[in-house]
């Protein structure tokens, strides 16, 4: 063992943020890749569920398009929700549980780099999940304009941002051991109320009234619009609702973060 005899650097500096962000994002990505069960659930399960449920609507007209294409867009929103909440809610809970957040706190890493790395990974995983979903649909006979497919992939990656703030709020509010249960309950409940398992236009008005309050419904509508379906609300309205949810969950996350800060770091 030998240490270098060099002198210590004299100026007080911080490391450049971009290389740090790239390294951190790559480390986050490797962690995801090395958890096969989680990775399969995040990326593949959505396509499998779509195969089981969405196929039943093939050949039927739903909102002006083929029912299977409509269901594909719906399941894209379902998968995005699970990835965003898993990465943020699950990720924050895991960091808290292992006290990694205390170690990071003592490091010269800006919190925005740690958060940014998770955002990058969640967006990449969402894009991969949506691509697999679209690939599954196309491979089983769905005809989809490539531009529509790209639009769907892009809209999911960006439209999932409200669920990042929702995941953060859950990650800080809920006990780490309970986070997975809370996310699963939310995923099942919201997907049922958002027309993920069945097209909302086929169910009558009551579900529609409830769905209007669900952020997952609005993300699904964003996806359905991307693949040419007639949607209930204007795209501006849908984006506006998603922005409001981003703000509401963001404020909740900030409050929960402040509480955690006080408890652990004051």
């Amino acid at each position: 063992m030998s240490a270098s005899p060099d002198t210590f650097p004299t100026p007080f500096r911080v490391a450049p943020a971009w290389p740090m962000l790239i390294r951190q994002a790559w480390a986050e990505m490797l962690q995801q890749i090395r958890m096969p069960m989680g990775l399969v659930w995040s990326l593949v399960a959505t396509s499998v569920l779509f195969l089981f449920i969405g196929f039943g609507w093939a050949g039927q007209d739903v909102a002006g398009i083929d029912g299977k294409t409509y269901m594909m867009a719906s399941f894209a929103a379902f998968g995005t929700f699970n990835i965003m909440l898993g990465t943020f809610g699950g990720g924050i809970a895991s960091d808290r549980s292992a006290r990694r957040h205390v170690l990071y706190r003592a490091m010269p890493v800006p919190p925005v780099v740690l958060l940014g790395a998770k955002v990058v990974v969640a967006c990449v995983m969402t894009a991969v999940m949506t691509t697999l979903l679209v690939g599954t649909a196309v491979a089983t006979g769905t005809r989809l304009d490539p531009l529509m497919a790209l639009s769907l992939i892009g809209r999911m990656a960006i439209g999932g941002i409200p669920f990042i703030t929702m995941g953060l709020a859950i990650g800080y509010l809920v006990r780490p051991a309970s986070v997975a249960v809370v996310i699963n309950i939310l995923s099942l409940g919201l997907s049922f109320l958002s027309g993920i398992y069945f097209p909302i236009p086929e169910t009558g008005g009551s579900i529609q009234r409830v769905a209007n309050w669900s952020p997952m419904y609005h993300l699904a509508e964003l996806g359905r619009d991307a693949v040419g379906a007639q949607v209930e609300h204007s795209i501006v309205n849908t984006v506006g609702v998603l922005l409001i949810y981003t703000l509401v969950f963001g404020l909740l996350a900030l409050r929960a973060y402040g509480r955690e800060e006080k408890r652990t770091f004051e």
Binding site: A3, F8, R13, R34, R100, M107
Partner: protein
Amino acid sequence: MTVPTPIAPTPAVELRNVSKQFDKAEALRDVSLRIDPGEVVAILGPNGAGKTTAISIMLGIRKPTSGEAKIFGMDPQDLRARARCGVMLQDTGLPWNLKVGELVGLFRSYYPDPLPSREILEVAGLTELVGKRAGELSGGQRQRLAFALAICGNPSLLFLDEPTVGLDVDSRKAFWREMKRYAAKGASIVMTTHYMEEAEALADRIVVIHDGQVVADAPSDALTSRMGRKRVRIRVPDDTTLATFAGLPIDDLEISQGVAAFMAAEPEAALHELWLRKIAYQTIEIRGAALEDAVANLTNDPGEESHVRIA
């Protein structure tokens, strides 16, 4: 980003009248401490004395209720100050499914002037384990990994919280050698440890914290010589009891398996009195007070007769 260097000389760490209140408990009371560049300081004290709180405040992990903490003259939360620190904390996890080499690469990216990866791995004795996942390492290897991550940034100030827990004797000695070498480069080191031998071997100064206050701040030699007492061990007959020693000018008496051990300012007088009492003792061992005795003496409540285990 390059900013002007603060005007020297600046202490590496400075606590000024720091107090910390947790609900009703006062973890630190009016603690002032200065650690200069190049100093190696061991913070000792019983469990719950306030050592971890003091280190957390130095690191900027916690904020003082009153008083002020500075690292290199800056707020400990200032990333420029943190970029000059290395940290090895207890009870904090790592991303366990990353490999050793990946973790070193990640932590190097946090610092503006990191050491080369090869050197970090060599110093920590991890070269052979570079491709192994952190979660697959043994306890001792994990400690070495934590040390490797602490020195990634070529720190001017190292915080080591129980750095050699879980290491075998050889690894511990190798770690000490590396610490001495690192201190010789001009780095300041602040450490807590359960091993008094470690504190004696590495630290220029010992800071003893008890009940949230600094009760001693001196070199190890000064602490032990201040004791003015010696530790005595004698082999005694099997029927010897505590009553046999009643009235002798000794304290911290322990009798176990035919051996009596006690502290005495004048061991000769105590042994003479035992001889007068016709106690057939033999195999006498007298030595100066150890650091453990000195710290126990400082942290023992008045009237408490037993040893205090140093944590």
